[in-house]
């Protein structure tokens, strides 16, 4: 087994492991703010590991460059979307309650 194959397999295990841990974390964490933390490793290190693994194992003209491009897109858009979702969650939490949402009080 060559060093390149070993490296590709290691990156595959790392990438898939990170995605699995992040997905299982959705079931463990509670609330949008805790769960938002899971998007970082998924679009960061996990995407980089899988993108580089595919790019190393594929010729550049056969899709290797596109794999790196997918990785780059996930890497750049991930933090922006995390921030946007966090902002929306904060706005929804701070929004004043409508009268019909309040519980009825017994006279």
């Amino acid at each position: 087994m060559s060093a390149r194959t070993l490296g590709v397999d290691g990156l595959l295990v790392l990438g898939v492991g990170i995605q699995l841990v992040c997905a299982l974390g959705l079931l463990v964490f509670r609330g949008p703010f805790e769960r938002l933390h899971l998007l970082g490793p998924s679009s960061g290190l996990g995407a980089v590991a899988l993108g580089v693994a595919v790019a190393l194992d594929t010729q550049a003209t056969q899709g290797g460059l596109k794999a790196l491009l997918v990785m780059l897109v996930l890497l750049v858009t991930g933090p922006v979307l995390t921030h946007a979702i966090g902002r929306a969650a904060t706005l929804r939490e701070r929004a004043p309650r409508k009268p019909e949402d309040l519980p009825e009080v017994e006279p």
């Binding site: 699995l20 997905a23 769960r35 997918v70």
Partner: protein, 83 residues
């Protein structure tokens, strides 16, 4: 079964908790799970393109990764307005 097929299977399994949270959690948690599912699906399509060794399949992963950005921003905008 090759390492790439096992990786695709692992990513497929990782999509299941996202689907569960999308179906059962409150609204903002669903959006987080949807974003995580989109990330995983893009990478799954990337790995599947390598499994089938068809260079045209890489375009599908690229299109999903690019289009998920405005899609999620639209969801965020809608949910902010209905706060």
């Amino acid at each position: 079964m090759s390492a790439w097929e096992l990786a695709a299977l692992g990513l497929l399994v990782a999509l299941m908790p996202c689907g569960l949270v999308c179906a059962r959690a409150p609204t903002m948690d669903r959006l987080v799970a949807l974003q995580l599912a989109t990330n995983i699906a893009s990478l799954l399509l990337l790995v599947l393109a390598r499994v089938y060794e068809r260079s045209i399949y890489f375009d599908v992963a690229l299109v999903l990764a690019v289009l998920s950005f405005p899609g999620t921003l639209l969801f965020v905008r809608l949910l902010e307005r209905h706060a």
